[in-house]
């Protein structure tokens, strides 16, 4: 047995068997990829045979290491194969070595290359001298050259050899050092250390090439790591899910076995009422088991889209009443107050009644399960804009905020710790989410730990018979995602949006927001960038560089005043809290307009009531996106919030000498200011010049001319700029 392989990368392998000269099976210590080229040679004592090329056919992890099957590239001759591949009984005394995959046969010393090049030069020189001698002999037949030529040839050859070696040796040395550098690099040494010291120009080229190689390897490594992590995550989700399912199956089984055995045990003396009670418990637990199996099958059906949906207008209040009746007995037994509140004028809802009943039952069952005795559970419905909201509120232990999104998830609704905060919720909420989202609605939870939870879902209300207008409006329904870490903020904004014809999906984390962006293709995103799971700049970058960025408008609302939208590129409106309902509505109204393509965002300040509307209309017609503000203070806020290009200030709202204009000059704003004057006198024009703002004289009642005037002024300014 030898222990010093001359190739450090060679793998020691124990041959297990050979397949009649065509292939071989062997144990190796590291994984070899399929189809990898390897070389095998046999060692007996210190002697070894030739390297035989082979290809890996398979490699699996076994008890002694990796079991590799390899096929010889060329069929071995009978004797050779017997010689090289030991028979099974001899394998303990013999050992084979496998060269590393793709390892070439060991290169002979590079020194010989240099010598070979020198010899080539020498041979060339000799041939030159012989040719010269032959020529001179034929030209000068006296013959003296014939005596000289052997010596000349020998000397020329020697000089050729030396010169050849001298000339070629730096190149060969560089080649040798390159090979050494790659070997050292592959062993993990840093690039700068392994590079040859000399060869300035070639060193730079080699460095570039190796850097490229290193980058490529690094990228591949990262890709593989990400892939592996993803697989590991999926695997752990799967195990977690299996563990939960097995827990939920074992718990009722334990009860059944316990009570059945007690009924069977002659040693336990049971009273007749106890017997009946035990049988009831067994029946209940069987129902629970079968429900769990149903749920599992239901999830399977929903996920594979094998459910027949019968969505038609139906009365939601009736469905809620039926569910309440189902759970009344259970609530009474736990001393929980169960109530419902549905307004009489609740519009019909387009839904599959049976499935929505399932949703309400699941939510009610959870609420009753987690609410302690003496608590209250209430189901309510209300109409909000074009949606009907159903809330199931309980006074249970509540759900921590970081679990709000998670509990609707199939796999991770139960933490894999031994504390089952939501133990037994099972697949109920996941099914709820599926059904509601299939109806085009959304489901979310709002909860405070220690006080209770409120599960809420939305469904689209049907048009009332007289509602021709709402039918038109229904076509305008747009999708919006509202994201904020605070649920009350999400709820408020969502309500404003819903009453403006938006279908809203809530998100409480950056992850969820980005998922909605990808899957749901909303037209509007209202988001606070300060979220627990991602830095604001990173999130903003992800949103603004989204492939669908042209497809949605972005309103950012935040407590942080980070300047104007100009300073936060890619944001359509930047609202700094607190934001009033009207301000939010204005922002929504603003983003509802088409993005101005040729025109500008024009802020009209202090326009008299009768001229404001015509002016805004004319601006819109000319392709601008107008905004209005009552006075300069409000306008200043708007300049911070909107990407305003032009500000038109009516001089009626300015005091003498117009000091308020300075309020509008904000750092980072590109807004150009012009004062509109109905008086249009020389004094006003001078004042405008002294403030460095534009001046637009205007006759009352002809404000639409301002649009042209503004356009011509813009062109003049541009011309002035180009000149």
């Amino acid at each position: 047995m030898t222990t010093d392989p001359d190739d450090p990368d060679a793998l020691q392998a124990a041959i297990t068997h050979n397949v009649s000269g065509g292939g071989i099976g062997l144990w190796v210590k590291r994984n070899l990829p399929p189809h990898a080229d390897i070389y095998i040679r046999q060692y007996i004592g210190r002697s070894h045979g030739d390297w035989i090329p082979a290809t890996v056919t398979h490699c699996t992890l076994g008890i002694q290491g990796y079991l590799v099957g390899a096929a010889f590239k060329e069929p071995l001759e009978r004797e050779a194969s017997d010689d090289v591949v030991p028979a099974a009984e001899e394998s303990r005394t013999r050992e084979s070595r496998v060269a590393a995959p793709a390892q070439p046969r060991p290169v002979k010393s590079l020194q010989t290359m240099t010598t070979r090049c020198g010899l080539a030069c020498a041979a060339g020189s000799c041939m030159g001298v012989i040719l010269g001698a032959w020529l001179s002999m034929s030209l000068c037949p006296t013959g003296w050259a014939a005596w000289v030529s052997p010596f000349a040839t020998a000397i020329a050859g020697l000089i050729g050899l030396l010169v050849g070696r001298l000339v070629i040796s730096p190149e060969v040395r560089f080649l040798a050092e390159t090979v050494a550098a790659i070997r050292r690099l592959s062993k993990g040494e840093p690039l700068e250390q392994v590079l040859p010291r000399r060869f300035g120009k070639e060193r730079a080229i080699l460095r570039e090439a190796l850097l490229d190689l290193e980058r490529m390897l690094l990228a591949r490594q990262q890709h593989e790591r990400a892939h592996r992590e993803k697989l590991e995550e999926l695997n752990s989700l799967k195990s977690n899910f299996l563990s939960i399912v097995s827990h939920d199956l074992r718990t009722p089984l334990t009860s059944i076995l316990l009570y059945a055995r007690m009924l069977m045990d002659p040693g336990i003396d049971l009273e007749p009422p106890d017997q009946a009670r035990f049988l009831n418990i067994i029946a209940d637990e069987c129902t629970r088991l079968s429900r769990l199996v149903d749920d599992l099958l239901e999830v399977q059906r929903l996920e594979n889209d094998r459910v027949e949906w019968q969505i038609r207008p139906a009365n939601l209040a009736e469905v809620i009443d039926t569910s309440i009746r189902v759970f009344e007995a259970m609530a009474q037994s736990k001393s929980i107050r169960l109530s419902s509140a549905c307004p009489e004028d609740l519009p019909p809802v387009a839904m599959d009644s049976q499935r929505i009943a399932q949703v309400i039952n699941n939510l009610l069952s959870n609420a009753l399960k987690y609410t302690p005795a003496g608590g209250a559970v209430c189901v309510s419905a209300e109409c909000s804009g074009r949606e009907v909201l159903v809330r199931v509120k309980d006074t249970g232990p509540g759900i921590p905020r970081d679990k709000w999104d998670e509990i609707f998830n199939r796999f991770s609704q139960l933490s894999d710790t031994n504390v089952s905060e939501f133990g037994g919720v099972g697949l109920g909420l996941y099914i709820v989410k599926w059904i509601v989202e299939r109806h085009g609605g959304a489901v979310w939870v709002d909860s405070e730990v220690g006080k209770g939870s409120e599960f809420c879902f939305s469904l689209a209300a049907c048009d009332r018979p007289e509602g021709k207008r709402s039918a038109d409006a229904a076509q305008l329904i747009r999708r919006a995602v509202v994201c904020d870490a605070a649920p009350e903020v999400v709820a408020t904004i969502a309500q404003v949006l819903r009453s403006n014809g938006y279908e809203v999906r809530p998100a409480h984390s950056a992850r969820r927001l980005l998922a909605h962006l990808n899957e749901w293709e909303p037209e509007l995103v209202v988001a606070d960038l300060l979220l627990p799971d991602m830095d604001a700049p990173e999130l903003l970058q992800k949103i603004t560089s989204h492939p669908r960025r042209r497809g949605f408008r972005l309103i950012v609302h935040s407590y942080v005043n980070s300047g104007t939208p100009m300073k936060v590129p890619g944001v359509d409106v930047l609202l700094v809290r607190p934001v009033s309902r009207d301000e939010l509505l204005q922002a929504v109204e603003f983003v509802r307009q088409d993005r101005p393509r040729k025109g500008h965002v024009v802020l009209v300040v202090g326009a008299p009531a009768d001229s404001r509307e015509p002016l805004l209309r004319s601006l819109r017609q000319a392709g601008h996106a107008p905004l209005a503000a009552a006075d300069v203070a409000e306008a200043a806020l708007n300049v911070q919030r909107y990407p305003v290009d032009r500000v038109l200030v009516f001089d009626e709202c300015l005091s003498n000498s117009w000091p308020e204009l300075d309020l509008l000059r904000l750092e980072g704003s590109r807004a150009r200011i012009a004062v509109v004057s109905h008086r249009g006198g020389r004094q006003e024009r001078q004042l405008a010049d002294s403030h460095g703002v534009g001046f637009l004289p205007c006759t009352p009642g002809h404000e639409e001319h301002l649009v042209e005037l503004m356009a011509s002024q813009t062109t003049e300014e541009q011309e002035a700029l180009t000149v």
């Binding site: 563990s243 009860s255 316990l258 007690m262 045990d265 089952s420 133990g423």
Partner: protein, 130 residues
């Protein structure tokens, strides 16, 4: 009179165990989660604790770890019930703290015998001391 504490969040299992283990010379208390169990043990240490692993607020393993950390409750015999697919954590508890682990669903007769054995073993030193 021997005192038993049964801690499980499943009311049916608690009820069944109470019936299964009842005996004139035993007093059986129940708790529905780990925190409640610890409160009861702090008030008065029982002779045996039967605890489930997965419970709300505080799981069984946490209860066992807490009890082992306190000198008053170090010697309290514990039976851990586990319904988890992999009972690995419970097995660790068995090795570390010497708790007895029973996987759900368990054979009721075995549990009853085990409880009797433990309680008798506990009364022996007391008898010898008399």
């Amino acid at each position: 009179m021997k005192r038993l504490l049964i801690c499980d969040d499943e009311p049916h299992i608690v009820e069944g165990l109470r019936y299964l283990l009842r005996s004139p010379d035993r007093q059986i208390d129940v708790a529905s989660n780990g925190r409640e169990a610890l409160e009861r043990i702090r008030a008065s240490v029982p002779d045996l604790l039967i605890v489930d692993v997965m419970m709300p607020l505080m799981g069984g393993l946490e209860v066992v770890a807490t009890l082992q950390g306190s000198p008053d409750t170090q010697d309290l015999p514990i039976i851990i019930l586990t319904a988890k697919g992999q009972a690995r954590d419970a097995a660790i508890a068995q090795e570390t703290w010497g708790a007895i682990v029973m996987a759900k669903p368990f054979e009721p007769r075995k549990l009853r015998e085990l409880v009797s054995t433990i309680l008798e073993a506990r009364s022996c030193p007391a008898r010898s001391s008399i």
